[in-house]
Symmetry: C2
Subunit: 113 residues, 2 copies
């Protein structure tokens, strides 16, 4: 079975958690809102955890086009899907603590499969 599509647009959100936040981070995704699933052009997503426990988690989402991805980033579903994580970050800031996670989006075109 090979369902990959040469035209896919891929976004990876690289997440670095504070060590004591990793369990909460995994729990957030284990009970995620599935808001992204309703977006037009959304294909699938996966949360990838390094097998050696080192480095970033990768949240990988696959889209029919870049425009579909950009529409999601500006959508109410994006806010809904990140609600609890954003709240955790805001709370840490208000308490003068280190943010529990940092995220960095990077986007990719599929050039071969």
């Amino acid at each position: 079975m090979n369902m990959s599509n040469l035209k896919e647009f891929i976004a990876i959100n690289y997440i670095d958690c504070e060590p004591d936040y990793a369990e909460r981070f995994e729990q957030l995704f284990g009970t995620r809102a599935h808001a992204i699933d309703r977006m037009d052009g959304f294909i699938s997503m996966n949360v990838l955890k390094p097998t050696d426990g080192q480095g970033s988690y990768l949240i990988l989402s696959r889209w029919e086009t870049e425009q579909h991805f950009k529409a999601w980033v500006g959508s109410p579903e994006f806010v809904e899907g990140h609600k609890r994580g954003f709240e955790d970050i805001t709370k840490a800031k208000q308490e003068g603590k280190t943010p529990p996670m940092k995220s960095s989006f990077k986007t990719y075109n599929t050039i071969s499969n």
Copy 2:
């Protein structure tokens, strides 16, 4: 359509090319041997190119289990699939030049989809 599987094992080979090798790198994958496709437990692969032209290419392969991935790394298919790239690296070494690309494998478990 959501074909992602919560049990998937993911390997990402992060490739940093010398600037003048990028075109050759893309051409190698555009005409790849498809040796990996014959491996038991192989699901799919994609080559991801950063949309901003900065940073590593990602060669992402999806496997039924870690054991299937490890069997590939030790297989004749692995050598066959990397033949031309390995030759380019060997040639640069023999000529005392900088290797045209560096690769770094990192592996992941899928914890949510």
